[in-house]
Symmetry: C2
Subunit: 415 residues, 2 copies
């Protein structure tokens, strides 16, 4: 099956927003073995949407449109597809009822144009919208499959994952479903990971091995097609075991969760409380931790000791350690360890992590940009500091420092 993605929306065309939907769909289609050959962006304009559909029909078996399903006169996608396929638009009653009830519940009158959102093509299958009002459309016409999804990602993503993807899979002939295992890594870079697995990656046929990298974290997905989960696991598990044999110390999860989620989960399970002292990361580590719902169960908080004064006054680092000739300075192993120890004690935590370093753009204390120390202290008496030399701009160094701190934290609470 050859797919084409058409994003409809003048705001995309003019660059007011980025077309992240296309990326999400292309990845999701790849997961079920459907290749995308073209992506198009077109404005809210009848003749140009028609032209795009016409071109796509000539070269794709599956056309997915996003956007233009809303209530306004600019939302034209269903009208245009109906016209192109020669199908009337009809009301999808369950969507209409949900919408009517919602307006009644909120006590606001339903403007007539809202009813447009409950429309579908007369021969189409409806795709329910669990997070919004506009119903989606899936229809097959003269050998081509058409899918219309809403534009807002928070509506598009669940509709695609829950309803459009299974609909597409049901149209794929004789293809077994995909099964995969996601392994998430910390404390190792993308190239080091690839280097360690290069023989497996180069020899891959089935299961496939796909590396993914985002700032500060890398992952690999092992994928195979099989008639049952059991059959899939007999192929996936040996490969996972082989990889674990080489890199187990870096694998923090076998599911798609972030390192901070994993750390918070382990802290909660063991009933330990965490506190932090952040200098060069300036609150980023705490922001990552508190982005996880329920983090307050294990995260006490901490100190953003951006200035030497705060390191000294709030966290009791001796001034002679921070300043003066011969002093280790704020960016040093000694200060990192002292910050962690004192944070543990003063904030009555079970484990404390500190970060101090030079995020740039300029050097500090004569120390180079990217030099960062992470300190760790545990109620069991363990305390140490790790030296890192990170690369990148200010933003990247902050992120890599925070992720490194999480990695050392994970290693500490795991052991």
């Amino acid at each position: 099956m050859r797919a084409e993605i058409i994003a409809v929306g003048t705001e995309l065309l003019m660059g007011q927003i980025v077309n992240t939907n296309a990326q999400y769909l292309a990845k999701g289609l790849a997961d079920i073995g459907v290749g995308v050959y073209f992506q198009t962006v077109v404005g809210d304009n009848v003749s140009r949407i028609k032209e795009s559909l016409h071109i796509a029909k000539g070269r794709a078996d599956l056309i997915i449109c996003t956007g233009g399903l809303g209530p306004t006169q600019d939302d034209l996608t269903k009208d245009v597809l109906g016209e192109v396929l020669g199908q009337k638009l009809v009301i999808h009653e369950p969507s209409m009822n949900t919408m009517t009830e919602m307006f009644q519940r909120r006590g606001i009158p339903m403007v007539e144009s809202n009813a447009r959102q409950a429309l579908m093509l007369e021969q189409s299958d409806p795709l329910p919208n669990d997070t919004g009002l506009a119903v989606g459309v899936a229809v097959m016409h003269e050998g081509t499959h058409y899918i219309l999804l809403p534009g807002p990602p928070k509506e598009m993503k669940p509709m695609f994952d829950r309803y459009a993807k299974p609909w597409i899979e049901s149209k794929l002939d004789h293809v077994q479903p995909l099964y995969s295992i996601m392994l998430k890594f910390a404390g190792i870079g993308e190239s080091a990971l690839e280097h360690a697995l290069i023989d497996l990656i180069e020899a891959q046929t089935d299961p496939t091995i796909a590396p993914y990298a985002k700032e500060g974290e890398v992952a690999i997905r092992l994928t195979t097609r099989a008639s049952s989960p059991d059959e899939a696991m007999t192929r996936l598990r040996p490969l996972e075991a082989e990889i674990r044999g080489r890199l187990d110390e870096h694998i923090y999860a076998a599911e798609d969760i972030t390192l901070e989620q994993q750390v918070l989960r382990m802290l909660a399970e063991s009933g330990q409380k965490l506190a932090v002292a952040e200098s060069c990361t300036g609150g980023l580590l705490s922001d990552l931790l508190t982005a996880v719902p329920g983090s307050s169960q294990s995260f006490l908080g901490g100190v953003i000791c951006y200035s030497s004064t705060l390191k000294h006054k709030l966290l009791g680092v001796p001034m002679e350690m921070l300043e003066g000739p011969g002093a280790p300075g704020a960016v040093s192993e000694e200060t990192a360890a002292e910050l962690a120890r004192n944070t543990l004690r003063l904030l009555e935590a079970d484990v404390a992590v500190s970060i101090t370093g030079v995020a740039g753009p300029g050097e500090s204390e004569g120390k180079p940009v990217g030099l960062v120390y992470v300190g760790l202290a545990h109620r069991n008496g363990q305390a140490f500091a790790v030296k890192l030399q990170l690369s990148g701009n200010r933003e990247t160094i902050k992120l890599r420092a925070a992720k490194s701190a999480l990695y050392h934290l994970w290693k500490t609470i795991k052991s």
Copy 2:
């Protein structure tokens, strides 16, 4: 002039990276009055790139391709365009010399395929690459303008801004350059802003008024064409004055800087030191502030008082204010003000801001998700707290709370 953007690259098509280049180009073209009518993404494939160029030629006067200018066999864009226009590829000597020198300087042998990056079409104008190796191409053929830019944004953006944009402008007939004023707003939402200016927005012809919104901040750009900056300002200034007359208390800058940049600049100019106490934002406010290079000049740091224990132990909020029957609780005007006052005193700051609230997903202390208090304390004795009711998910509430805190901080140090 009608433009079309074609992004070439299998990694875009498969969703491994997002097509941010298209957004950048669409915005930049809008700035010089060129409308984009279609955007396409196509893989590294000769026949499909050819097909995309052919379709684009039929409906656009300006075709901008990004990607596929590198040294590998997958980099095909120049070859395909040369074939389509019937033009040979020739070496652009200055680019070749720069490349040869660079390899010599680094002491590494230059692989022959690298020479491909110095190729241009025989009748094309070269577009210099100040941040990479592949030279760009600008060429006019049978009434259509073609521009080839590199794929990596760090090469594409400077080449477009410095060389491609002026080349396009030189092809626009009798069109005067654009001048604009960007006004940045805080403490007001997009719809309230539009409501206040709706008569101006609806009546706009010249200058034009374009609103922009990103989470927590809104902006409007006033734009006109003129033969000189002076002539432009005689039209832009009266409109700016009209807008300031209505919304001056919300305009924090007449240039494209963030609210945190403006706050830090004002603190530095007045020699004031800032400290923070963050509860529900969990470090995000500090992260935003420390993302600005040089922030350490004015930002001392602060406390992430995520737990009641830390609010009490580190920042001296009385336990009877935080807990127990009849206590205001951690999320209250009293606690916000107390946090700000104590942070100011304990951290010896000139101004202190505190944030405490319910980020969700669940309620806290029986208080609803989105209820947030911002506290402000100044060395001059001023101290107060503001109540906010924010909407959105956990991430959005954290961001809106941090931006609201910055807004009240800005108002305080401005007065």
